[in-house]
Each structure stands twice: as C-alpha cells, then as structure tokens.
C-alpha cells in the first residue's frame, strides 16, 4: 500500500480520531533518532523503531500523560525470509508490539526490525507484567533473544526441541529426534524439594 504508508504523520483518513497522531508526534519529538517510518493502514497506527530504542520509547508511551498505554496487548514477530513485498522491511525479522490505552482509548503498533545475524532485541519485561511470557513465546518460535529477560526459556515447545518452528526456513513437515527417557526423568525428579 504505497499510497497509505508514508514517512510523514499526516492522516490519510478523515474519520480517524486525532489522538492517535499525538502518539506519533510525541515519539518523534522525544526520540527523533529512533523513528524509522510511520504508517496508518486500515486505521491501525504503526511506528517502526530502531530496536535499541524500544525500551525508552515503551516507557515513554506507558507513562506519558498523553499516551498512557497501560495495557500490553500482544508481542510477536514476522519472518520476511523469501517474502517479496513492498512492506518496506529491511531486515529479516520484525518484532511487533501492540499496545492499548484504556484511559485514552487508543491503540498503537510498534515494529522493530531485527537482522538475522544479530538476532536480539532489548527486553521490556520490566514495563508490563504480561510481557514475560510473550517474549518467551517469541524466543521459542523465532529464536529472537530478548536481552535482559529473567527467564528466556522455551514455553510452548519442550526444552530439547531443535530449531525454531515459525521461522520460514523450518520445514512444516520436519520430524524431531526422539528423546531419551532418562533425560526426562533426570530433570523432573519428584518428591521433596531441597
């Protein structure tokens, strides 16, 4: 959608609430170096950020009286390997955050490109309680490391699983090696906790 995505913050649809562009203006003002692009597609406000700024920007969005994003809605990643598109992505992965403000009644989507050879991004687990498991899931599925996460382990897959299943180069019919029963027993000993 080239006509709907642009580097400027002007709104393309007249029916949109005005508050949402306040968010973009604020981030632009406070962290001009962080902004890559912004766009509004089908009414969803999106900011693409440099990944090293994700923590201060999220803190700003949570605490600033004009934004007040109290609720962390969703975190996921998109793998653009082999995808030919005009979505303007520059790196292989993109970590996507969705935030919601209850008191100001608006939503925002943040996106951070993450390169394949340096697959990590600062964790924001200290900002919302909900983030912890979402980051673990994203690590599990895409192998993106969240720097500073207290417990970055697999969550949906088991510990011995090899690879990261939602990467585009993970074949959909791939088989995993069988586990030795001993490994399992060793980890999950039952009884009194010393």
């Amino acid at each position: 959608m080239p006509e709907e995505s642009s580097a400027s913050t002007e709104s393309t649809e007249a029916s949109e609430p005005i508050e949402t562009s306040v968010v973009i203006n604020l981030v632009q003002q406070e962290y001009p170096a962080a902004m890559l692009t912004t766009h509004r597609h089908r009414g969803d406000e999106t900011i693409a950020l440099k990944r090293e700024f994700i923590q201060p920007v999220c803190r700003l969005l949570r605490d600033h009286p004009d934004c007040r994003f109290e609720m962390f809605v969703d975190l996921t990643a998109v793998d653009y390997l082999l995808i030919e598109t005009d979505l303007q992505q520059t790196e292989r992965f993109e970590v996507v955050y969705h935030l919601r403000s209850l008191s100001k009644d608006h939503r925002i989507r943040l996106k951070c490109p993450v390169p394949e050879d340096d697959c990590q991004i600062p964790s924001i687990h200290m900002l919302w309680h909900a983030v912890n498991w979402y980051e673990r899931e994203c690590y599990d599925m895409y192998g993106i490391h969240f720097e500073g996460h207290p417990n970055l382990t697999r969550i949906l897959m088991y510990e011995q699983f090899q690879g990261h299943p939602l990467r585009k180069d993970y074949p959909v019919d791939k088989q995993q090696p069988l586990l030795e029963l001993n490994d399992v027993e060793e980890r999950y000993h039952y009884g009194r906790f010393e």
Binding site: R42, L87, L156
Partner: protein, 419 residues
C-alpha cells in the same frame, strides 16, 4: 471510564519478585518444615485441557508456582502460513472450542479489514446473534465446570443441559455443534433457516430459566461463597498490567469491553450494560459471567427485532463464490468459480490487527499479507495466555484446594492457550 481512576503501575510493583516462571522459593529459615513440590497436572481432571502447575507448598499454603503450558500446541500459526487464507477458518474453530463462532468471526473480520470491505447488514446482525449465543455457551461451560469442581454437580448438569439447547441452535445454522466453519470473507456461508429466529426466542427463554434456577442454587449458597469469595484477588492496576481482558478484567472493576471500546459489527446500535465486579476474586468473576449471559440474551432479542432482510454474502467477486446459477449458466461465473477455487483470495499487501470481544476476553488477530495469496503471518492473541501467566500471583498464599476455584474461574481453554 474515568481517566483519573487508572494509575499507571509504579516501578516498585513491577520488580520481578512474582515473575511467573522465575520464582523458586527457599525454605523458611525459622521452621523445621521444608518446601514441598507438588505437580498438579498435566493430566488432571481440574486442569481443563492440559496444563501443568508445579506448585511449591509450605504446609498446605502455596508459596510458589510455575505454570507450564504447550501440551496442546498444534502449530496453528505454522499451519496457517502454509494454507490459503480461506483454509484457516476451520483451524480457528479449534482455538477456543467452547465459543467457535467468535473465533470464526474474529478471523473473518480481520481478513475483511485487510480487504477493506464492509459486509451486508443482515450478515452483521447474524454474526451478532450467533456470536452472543456462542458467548453464552462459553460462559455456561465455564461456570458449570467451575461450580462442579468446587462441589456443585447439579449446577453443572443444569448448565450443560442449557448449553445443549444452544448447541442445537448452532447446529441448525451451521451443521456442526463445535467445529462449525461458518463465516466466510464478506459474509456468512449460510443464512438462518426458516423459523430459526422464533426458535431462538423459545430456547433463550428456556436458557434464561436455567440461569435463574442456577442463580438460586449457588449464588447465595454458603458453601459456594466460602469457596469462591476473596480467592484469587488481583488489583485493578495489576490486572491491566497483566493484560487481563474480558470478564476477568471487568471482575476487577474496569468496565472495558471491546464491544463498546472498539465497536465492531452492529454493537453500537444495541443497548447493553457492562457488569463489573468490586474485588476481583473468583466470586466476582462468577457474578460477572452470570450477568453477562443475561445481557447477551437481551442483545440477541434486540438483534432479532432489528435484523433486516437482505443477502448474507457480499457481491464482491474477489471475496465470495458466485451463485451456482451463474457458475452453470455463464462462462464468467464458471471462470470466477474456477479461479476462486484454484487461486483463493488475494488480500492486498498490508498488516492489520483486529480485536474482538471473545468469550474469554480480547481475541486479536494480527495478519500480514504480501498480496500473493498465502498468509505471511497469521497470529492469534489468546486471552487466556495472560491469565495462566498470572496464576502464581493469583494463587500465592492460598491453599491447595483454592487452586481449583481459581483455575476454574479463569476459564483456561487449552486449544486457545497453546494454539
């Protein structure tokens, strides 16, 4: 909502003391007991589906808990990325399998948002009616299971009986009770059969009777209240920070309902109230769900009064199959049908996030399309992921038996949690 009511949570409260997955407590120094570790689940009758709670006990008191999920992971997103857009709809039935219509609606609305189309008004009303029926079945199942686990077996049987009335309604329209595969992009696959709306009114009356009977049976029951009251309390601010939505957040006293906050379909034309709780305990969650069912019945009755005549599927050729008359009668219709079957839908490149009020909270679909006809990304944001994450916080300091009351009231659905 009053803006000043909501304070942003302070940094101290967010210190990773109770971070789920990170707490493994040390035994208390001044006692000669040691911490005992008990595994609840994964195959435990009260664990609704499959989830494991590794619980650390001091005596009978819970001092730590590590939930482990993933036992029902079926690779929803991976399968979706390797399917055509339309082929994902049957997968969504299997997410929250007690309210499959709402999953269907959420996914279809997300793809329609990607296309930027509006569906016919009759289809919107039909989705509201079917969605609210589905919400009632969701709440009936949750409350029935919750009450059964704390000892109210009669209540369970009555509510499951009421659920069956509604499942039979879904069956009349879609042909299936649980795996219904009903919506399509641009409308619904079938219109209501003759006399359906009359039947809905009759059955809703029966369901309402069951709800009132159940209300009399347990809501003021001392045993039930003792089991549920002040169990699993979470403050308003923490609930928001944990990403609670739906009945659980409303039980904490926040009147946040996506049907009101991000109006979709025709909810803004219908009149309903958002029940909220006071304390945020298991009992409040029970009461909120009970009241929501009554509100849903009222929504359905209003929608039945207002539903217009008309098509239930949009006329856009790139969205729906052409009529069979056209397929067999004209070359254009035949070509359209062929191309639709062989190539599927081609949403324009872009990304959307579409939230709807699922039976359990905010059900969100985040879709990315590159315009080629295959989904690049098909993400579902499950509401109960956040609830299970908050389980250690909810259960801390309570006794083992209270886990059942808490876990029943958060309504974890395995298919949705693990996808």
């Amino acid at each position: 909502m009053n803006a000043s009511e909501l304070t942003t949570i302070s940094a101290e409260e967010l210190k990773p003391v109770h971070l789920p997955g990170a707490i493994i407590p040390a035994p208390p120094e001044d006692s000669d007991t040691s911490i005992m570790r008990i595994e609840i689940g994964p195959a435990h009758p009260a664990m609704h589906g499959i989830v494991r709670l590794t619980t650390y006990l001091d005596g009978e008191q819970i001092v730590g808990m590590v939930p482990e999920i993933g036992y029902l992971h079926r690779g929803f997103e991976k399968e979706s990325e390797n399917s055509k857009w339309i082929q994902v709809i049957p997968y969504t039935d299997r997410l929250n399998y007690v309210s499959p219509v709402l999953n269907n609606i959420g996914y279809s609305m997300a793809v329609e948002k990607l296309f930027g189309v509006e569906i016919p008004r009759r289809a919107q009303f039909a989705r509201v009616i079917m969605g609210e029926i589905s919400r009632i079945t969701d709440h009936l199942t949750c409350l029935a299971a919750c009450a059964m686990e704390v000892g109210g077996f009669t209540f369970f049987l009555w509510f499951i009986k009421a659920r069956e009335y509604l499942y039979e309604l879904l069956e009349q329209v879609t042909g299936g009770r649980v795996t219904i595969n009903w919506t399509r992009f641009g409308g619904n696959s079938t219109d209501f059969p003759d006399g359906f709306l009359k039947e809905v009114e009759v059955r809703l009356e029966k369901v309402r009777e069951v709800i009132e009977e159940g209300d009399q049976l347990v809501t003021r029951n001392k045993i039930f209240i003792d089991r549920m009251k002040n169990i699993g309390v979470l403050s308003k601010e923490k609930a928001i920070s944990y990403g609670f939505t739906g009945p659980l957040l409303r039980a904490c006293g926040v009147p946040y309902d996506i049907r009101r906050a991000d109006p979709h379909l025709v909810y803004d034309e219908l009149d309903f109230e958002i029940p909220i709780g006071e304390v945020g305990d298991s009992y409040d969650r029970f009461l909120v769900r009970m009241e929501e069912m009554r509100q849903s019945i009222s929504i359905i009755e209003q929608a039945i009064d207002k539903i217009p005549y008309g098509p239930v599927m949009t006329r856009e050729r790139y969205l729906g199959y052409p009529d069979k008359k056209e397929v067999y009668g004209s070359i254009e219709g035949l070509i359209d049908h062929f191309k639709m079957v062989m190539e599927g839908h081609h949403p324009p490149a872009g990304e959307v996030y579409q939230p709807i009020e699922g039976g359990n909270g905010e059900l969100g679909f985040y879709l990315v399309s590159d315009g080629s006809g295959d989904p690049v990304k098909c993400r579902v944001r499950p509401p109960c992921f956040n609830y299970v994450q908050a389980m250690p916080e909810l259960a801390l300091g309570h006794y083992v038996a209270d886990i059942i009351a808490i876990f029943g009231s958060i309504n974890m659905i395995g298919g949705e949690l693990d996808r």
